[in-house]
Symmetry: C2
Subunit: 323 residues, 2 copies
């Protein structure tokens, strides 16, 4: 790492970001947090590793943006307001001070954008691959967290934004191409404000990280139901891109997929318009534990629960569903 030791780095780059008194100036081994009365905490944590979750040459600001994006996306899917975080910061031991300054600057942007307090963490030098974990703490009014198990037969299924920009963005980043998909891949924009406003009108929700169908299947699994998806309705990031199933199952989109009774559709559309969020109805919940796809050729495929896992993993390619 730079000439400075970890105490110096914390003092110079992270302590100025930790303005809440509970952070104790980041000079202590622990932090203090006073939960809001009548609220529960929603906790999430995600780790990203160099070469696994981001390409080795990724700039520090993009790494910090990704780290916050993936964690905020988890809270958005719970209808939880982000409040405070702890950062496990393990950059490569040889990074420059400029690298650390750029990372910290993007952390400041995220803290300020989402009104999150940095309460603590730790700083170590990684001997090989850099690794970063963020633990993010949010709040919901007691009993107000959106569960995965809340989907009801007949509920509509919605998705925000576009699907497939995560996968296309990764391809663009690998090829060194600039593109809006790459921007979204490197700097995820989970629809937090929409989620917080619309949460009371959703029955179940999940964020799109593993792939739209795989993530929605978690909701079906927890809710003991199935789903029928209209493939022609999916808001693909690039409908002209050769392999729609790869876009569909690529993941890393950090949009919100959720279920809601039809009578809430108008209200949800209003919240989406208020936040300039694209909202698309893509299917509905069915009472059999099946995944029913109406593909773009108008054909219907039924996939039984025993097949679901392998089908989702293989991206449906053996069903020949390609554009």
């Amino acid at each position: 790492m730079s000439q400075k030791n970890e105490f110096d780095l914390i003092r110079d780059y992270f302590a100025p970001l930790a303005k809440d008194s509970g952070a104790l100036g980041l000079q202590d081994d622990a932090a203090l947090y006073s939960p809001t009365v009548g609220h529960e905490l929603v906790l999430t944590t995600d780790t990203i590793i160099e070469g696994v979750h981001y390409l080795p040459d990724t700039q520090p600001d993009k790494i910090a943006a990704k780290l916050f994006g993936v964690n905020i996306s988890d809270l958005a899917a719970k209808g939880a307001t982000p409040k405070a975080c702890l950062l496990n910061f393990a950059p490569h031991k040889n990074v420059s001070e400029d690298w650390i300054a750029a990372f910290a600057q993007q952390v400041e942007v995220a803290l300020s954008t989402y009104h999150i307090q940095l309460l603590g963490g730790d700083t170590v030098a990684a001997p090989d691959k850099a690794m970063f974990s963020l633990t993010l703490m949010g709040e919901v009014a007691t009993g107000g967290m959106i569960q995965r198990a809340g989907a009801k037969i007949g509920d509509d299924i919605f998705v925000t934004g576009t699907i497939g920009h995560g996968f296309i963005g990764l391809e663009d980043a690998k090829a060194g191409r600039l593109s809006p998909c790459r921007d979204l891949f490197e700097h995820p924009q989970p629809p937090l404000d929409f989620a917080l406003a619309a949460a009371p009108y959703m029955s179940a929700a999940v964020d799109v990280s593993d792939g739209l169908l795989a993530d929605l299947w978690h909701v079906c699994d927890a809710s003991v139901c199935g789903m029928q998806i209209d493939m022609t309705a999916i808001p693909f990031a690039d409908p002209a891109y050769e392999d729609l199933m790869t876009q569909l199952n690529g993941g890393d989109d950090y949009q919100l997929a959720f279920t809601a009774p039809s009578e809430n559709h108008g209200k949800l559309k209003q919240f989406a318009a208020d936040q300039s969020i694209q909202l698309t109805k893509i299917g509905h919940i069915i009472n059999r534990s099946e995944l029913v796809l109406q593909d773009s050729n108008g054909a219907t495929l039924k996939i039984l629960p025993t097949e679901t896992s392998s089908v989702l993993k293989s991206g449906f390619s053996h069903f020949g569903i390609k554009k």
Copy 2:
């Protein structure tokens, strides 16, 4: 990693440990926690990396024991009762399933010993060095956290257990020797129950992780005071060991160093006896921002604040204080 993917590993090894309903069976991306009314949360997180914080050949149960020990030690120094944790689990991608089972088994022991709920985390395969972070959440009655800034002029300075077993234990581990010091190095035993009982009678506290004098100096710094330490009183793990200063400054002891008014001494001795904890008075707080050492030869050394940092780092060797 093994043939199983991360979802299989979580289901088979970690989900059975996550018994609290707020963990949502570890099948969700987030967890729910309801704080006790009238209490504040105390949060801490520490990362340990293969080859940095533990030797590469360390057995998985020792790694898990260390991970919990260092974090519980931080809460003990705050007088906070551990409640819940999130685990960022990044073993090397090629570890066996037996390795993971042994790690998880020690996690279960720690959860059960300290009455901690496992609420969530994430599991990734580390491409190179393994890395583990634990975020530990404890509670104190509102306003009841022990601060570092609470030391008062004239307060006595105490330490629990022995000092230097961390350093000697590391040397023993490197040499492949079994010893009680190595046991304590690999399986830290922070005096949590003593700390929780005695907390109301302490004015300031810190856990011994960086080295006794360096850690106590953080208390002096925060409390705007100095300290006089009687070197002959320090409970060295091995008084016959050649270099006492290395024992003193080695760190990794995970004992508690704290200050308290003299009138509390009787009460503190009683709590220590109740918990079979060794408790030693090693000095007192002075009004000048100086570190005054009475060495084992009866000589007195005064170190001024401007010198403290470099002196603590260099282990006093240039003062010639060796046994």
